[in-house]
């Protein structure tokens, strides 16, 4: 099918990053299962197809191993293959049965966390950042001051890291993202090398932390992860991988959930007023904000068996991009999908994915976003956008460079 503009669709251009939703609409309407030359991947944009794809066993999550094997075959045994080796152990890039075991162990550790204590801890961290923000005046970046440091500090605290080490978690998180998503250009090759060195440090840091917790277990998640006895317990290397994954998966996504939520509220003053008048709306409000402009645009899958989607044949070895941000605006599923309605219910968005790989940190991410948005709305009554935000030209995440606001 030929649709003007669709044949050359590239989701990483500045205009597509600024307004991906009109590109998604064109794809949903014109070619909902679209082979993109620019991305060398299938773009799946309708809710029903994305939803079914989560259950389609032809689409595998085992997507780092092929990259690693290619590098190894090319004789490139390096620091990069070391980090990729760590990532191949992550449950998010594995299928059952490897995935099942890791997911169970991680779920048990999440379950062991006391919700009331987490609520209190997150509220305290949010308020500390907002105290500092309120001391500043004039235009300030809400991302670098609040939304960005918050999740790394929460994860470091949950893993039981001493407070003085928490800044290092942010650096490692950035370095993991750099290695996972590639660097884009030789100019950044030295940054890549530095990132790899940083991650070596991270690995040895987590090994040391694991040693300490084995000697002296606490209430933290790391202690819970290692508490399991028996044959299926996590090895030290797996524990290191799990710590890195929790940091990587829980940081940037949560930052963007909070920042995109605040931006959406600033752009819809009626909805912001509604939330101010009715703070109890925060639960459904955050679900709607995740649907409307969630942190992840695209999740990818590796095709391992021939399959057909909407009449198109998709073959082994190809890649599929599940466009979550498009599914969440599909008018077949959501009435008035481009309208932000904080009271929307039911709200079966797929911002956290679906099925066996649905984000295991979803409850934590919800809690962080609810508390952060609620506290920002309550404590910054004069909140206003100070400049038009710029969006990062990246495929996977929906991410602003800065969110510059004033509060008085």
């Amino acid at each position: 099918m030929t649709v003007p503009g669709i044949d050359s669709v590239d989701l990483t251009t500045p205009s597509a990053s600024a307004d991906p939703f009109s590109v998604f609409r064109a794809l949903r309407e014109g070619d909902p299962v679209h082979w993109s030359e620019a991305h060398r991947a299938w773009l799946i944009t309708r809710y029903d197809d994305v939803s079914a794809a989560f259950q389609n066993k032809a689409f595998s999550n085992d997507r780092v191993r092929p990259v690693l094997e290619r590098k190894r075959q090319a004789g490139a045994e390096s620091a990069a293959t070391g980090v990729l080796g760590l990532m191949t152990g992550w449950m998010v890039v594995n299928d059952p049965p490897v995935h099942t075991r890791l997911r169970k162990l991680a779920a048990g550790a999440f379950k062991g966390q006391r919700i009331a204590a987490m609520d209190e801890m997150i509220t305290r961290i949010v308020d500390e950042h907002l105290d500092a923000f309120l001391r500043g005046s004039g235009p300030q970046d809400l991302i670098s001051e609040v939304a960005y440091p918050l999740p790394a500090t929460v994860i470091a605290t949950m893993l039981g890291a001493p407070p003085e080490d928490r800044d290092r978690f942010r650096e490692w998180s950035d370095e993991l993202a750099l290695v996972a998503f590639g660097t884009g250009g030789a100019a950044r090759a030295d940054r890549h090398e530095r990132a790899l060195r940083g991650l070596r440090e991270m690995e040895s840091y987590f090994h040391t932390l694991i040693g300490k917790r084995r000697a002296e277990p606490g209430e933290d998640m790391l202690s819970a992860l290692m508490a399991k006895e028996g044959d299926d317990r996590l090895t030290d290397d797996e524990l290191v991988g799990m710590c890195a994954l929790l940091l990587f998966a829980g940081h940037e996504t949560t930052t963007n959930s909070i920042a995109n939520s605040v931006l959406a509220l600033l752009r819809h003053p009626d909805q912001l007023d509604r939330l101010r008048r009715d703070p109890a709306l925060i639960g459904p409000a955050v679900e709607e904000l995740l649907r409307f402009d969630g942190p992840i645009k695209v999740l990818n899958r590796w095709v391992v068996a021939e399959t057909e989607v909407r009449g198109k044949t998709i073959r082994p070895g190809e890649r599929v991009h599940l466009v979550l941000a498009s599914a969440n605006r599909d008018p077949e599923k959501f009435a008035d999908p481009d309208t932000l309605d904080l009271g929307r219910s039911p709200n079966p968005h797929v911002a956290f994915g679906k099925g066996i790989h649905a984000c295991i940190g979803a409850q934590l991410a919800r809690m962080e976003t609810r508390i952060a948005v609620a506290r920002i709305v309550e404590r910054l009554p004069g909140l206003a956008l100070a400049e038009e935000p710029e969006w990062k030209d990246v495929l996977a995440s929906r991410s602003m460079e800065k969110l510059v606001v004033t509060h008085s």
Binding site: K104, A107, K111, E287, P346, P348, I356
Partner: protein
């Protein structure tokens, strides 16, 4: 306390299972395997309520 799932309504979002995968098991395709009527073990009522509330399509219900 008893909980149940309306399997006609369940869309396999898996959000209940994130709250507690023992109370809210999934089948191989990711749909709720809670069944129409299941007893919640004593002391786990609050978690069960969280899991029921996490369902985005309200397929899960507290029955009693």
């Amino acid at each position: 306390m008893r909980i149940g799932v309306d399997s006609e309504v369940c869309e396999a979002h898996g959000q209940c299972s994130i709250v507690d995968m023992d109370l809210f098991p999934l089948d191989d395709d990711g749909y709720s395997a809670v069944g129409p009527d299941r007893e919640v073990p004593e002391g786990e009522e609050d978690t069960a309520k969280l899991g029921v509330d996490a369902c985005p399509v309200r397929a899960l219900k507290v029955l009693s």
